[in-house]
Symmetry: C2
Subunit: 366 residues, 2 copies
């Protein structure tokens, strides 16, 4: 993305402004590294410069016939506290990108470009560089341009060393290929894609349990394992989007994605805030329930600790955490095996975890 | 935007989660009003529901032949402190939308849709409702869909009653109509569009001057006027985009906007962070300077106070604040009068404030 640096704006340093607390010369201390990092995260549709007030993406080059733009905005949430506590900022950069691209992938959309916002008290170049390199790496993997951003220095808003991190993604899907969930029927199978940890949800509760209730420290090892609590809790949100888009293009060859004809995958739910209970009903038709057998998959150890020592009720676990399943695909019964196999071949753990029944929009967990 | 409510996500309330500090039932206390507010801010291209993981905008309906997407992300910055102090939140909702749409209008882009992020400690429905109604109203005026948002409750990040507010806009422009500034030449005139206050920039310094140095209180009246300090400082960022897009469509009828043929307006600079000095060079060709006569326009009183009592050097004033000019258009010499007249007819104060000369990308202020 050469020449797009100016799309990231920051207050210009001046003398009185510096005295008012906004005093980092972003241009000198960070922009050099920024330029190198961002140069790796382009797409052919990104147009250079033109003032830098906005990022320019030439959609006419992308070859869409009936493009529907799909957008989402999200934050990393209180997981950031762990980045502050450990000084590890690259992972949360990945988190925000992957959360965003997964959110639009459930609708069948390919990510086109991403914009970030970092709000902080004073810009600390090392911290910022860490966040940015995580975002850039995740954008590169997602084939998504990092097209713009804003770094806001807000003295008195954020504690020293703290920040908020927000991302916004725009993707596109051909109109007839929007994955709406409308074709889902009783009898369809749920394929769960494994997560590697909490991703970006449930941290207010999880950190309370680990650090207040169970009195772990960041660098304690999890029982029976090699990883520390910090490692486990900081695992970045996985990108499911690339695999999903590949599956859709191979297995959903019907002319429309809201019918069953020619398609194998009828819906996808990203398991984020609200867990299973909050997210699966968002795509399942009103006259259906889903039944999930929670014994069908292997979960990261961190969830076992939350479940056994956390004092959280069974139902609530699945309302707050992803419990080891970051994405649920609803697939035709005869395709479930094939979908699972294709995921595993791509090194993405996957299991058939349940099915769709007649009902009224509820999630039953066994 | 009926049916799009689910695109705004928030943590689902659960028992242990509530004890961890995330305990507002957004669904009950806010979503009703949200639905009513957002129903007024649609566009025909917005597609209803489909899960709500992302906002859907059917660009194929917009009639673009060679669409370039133009995007920007921004925050309101420390102006928010004044919203906290006065309990007036609607204006900052307008601020963030107008800042964003102005940023992409300088490239010739029409805003299509907007997404917001509100990070707060605990959701206070009244505060949230105020922000949202300001955003909705500004989106309606900008003919921009409010397509999605995120409300993040982050206990321990933000002080009680405080929040950060971020917006992201996506617009579109026909590729040959991108306003790049490439056609600007020595001799062109600068038309300044009046601002109504600081918009969203320079607040860290301005509040320090007003409240620490000059010892004003929020509800003191400005010298010689009826408005209070709070009124003056909270004036929302103006939307210049509608007027600008109308001017472009009337006066830039050439087949390409990066040439002079058939066009009257060759560039536009949004005077935000960095003031005149930081923003005008972003669009002026490298071999040009601009010369601005600072006595040519009428400025809101707040700037006179900053200039006379603030103890800020003359140059710095124009590096930090918009000083009464929120947008600068670079126009052909024979069109300047007409552009000014058209602006004034639309009740937008405007003046010819300077001109382009040979040079090397500098801004000279007299």
């Amino acid at each position: 993305m050469p020449g797009k640096i100016a799309a990231r704006t920051a207050p210009k340093e001046t003398k009185a402004y510096a005295q008012a607390g906004v005093d980092i010369d972003l241009a000198d201390s960070v922009k050099g590294g920024l330029k190198r990092t961002l140069a790796r995260v382009g797409r052919p549709e990104v147009l250079g410069k033109a003032g830098g007030f906005g990022g320019l993406f030439d959609l006419s080059k992308s070859g869409y016939r009936r493009p529907v733009l799909v957008s989402s905005v999200d934050g990393v949430g209180t997981k950031l506290k762990l980045a502050f506590g450990t000084g590890r900022h690259e992972g949360v950069g990945r988190d925000i990108v992957n959360h965003c691209v997964n959110d639009i992938a459930v609708l069948g959309a390919e990510p086109l470009f991403f914009l970030d916002y970092v709000g902080m008290g004073k810009l600390e170049p090392g911290v910022f560089q860490g966040i940015l390199s995580g975002m850039a790496e995740a954008c590169r993997e997602a084939r998504c341009a990092l097209i713009g951003g804003e770094t806001a220095q807000m003295p008195g808003f954020y504690r020293t060393g703290e920040y908020d991190l927000v991302g916004s993604v725009v993707g596109a899907v051909e109109k007839p290929k929007i994955l709406s969930g409308a074709a889902i029927r009783p009898g369809d199978k749920l394929v769960g894609l494994g997560s590697n940890g909490l991703h970006t949800n449930g941290y207010s509760l999880a950190t309370k349990i680990f650090f207040n209730k169970l009195r772990y420290r960041m660098d304690d090892r999890l029982p029976g394992g090699e990883v520390t609590v910090a490692d486990a809790l900081l695992e970045p949100h996985l990108n499911y989007a690339r695999l999903m888009l590949r599956l859709f293009s191979r297995l959903n060859t019907g002319s429309r994605s809201d019918t069953r004809r020619g398609n194998a995958i009828f819906g996808a739910a990203h398991i984020t805030g609200g867990g299973f209970t909050g997210n699966i009903p968002r795509i399942v038709p009103e006259k259906c329930d889903v039944v999930i057998d929670t014994g069908t998959w292997t979960r990261p150890r961190v969830f076992d600790i939350l479940a056994t020592e956390g004092g959280v009720a069974f139902d609530e676990l699945y309302e707050v955490f992803n419990m080891g399943i970051g994405m649920v695909l609803v697939v035709s019964p005869d395709a479930a095996q094939d979908v699972v196999r294709r995921c595993r071949r791509a090194r993405q753990p996957a299991w058939t975890i349940g099915e769709v029944t007649r009902g009224k929009g509820r999630v039953h967990l066994r």
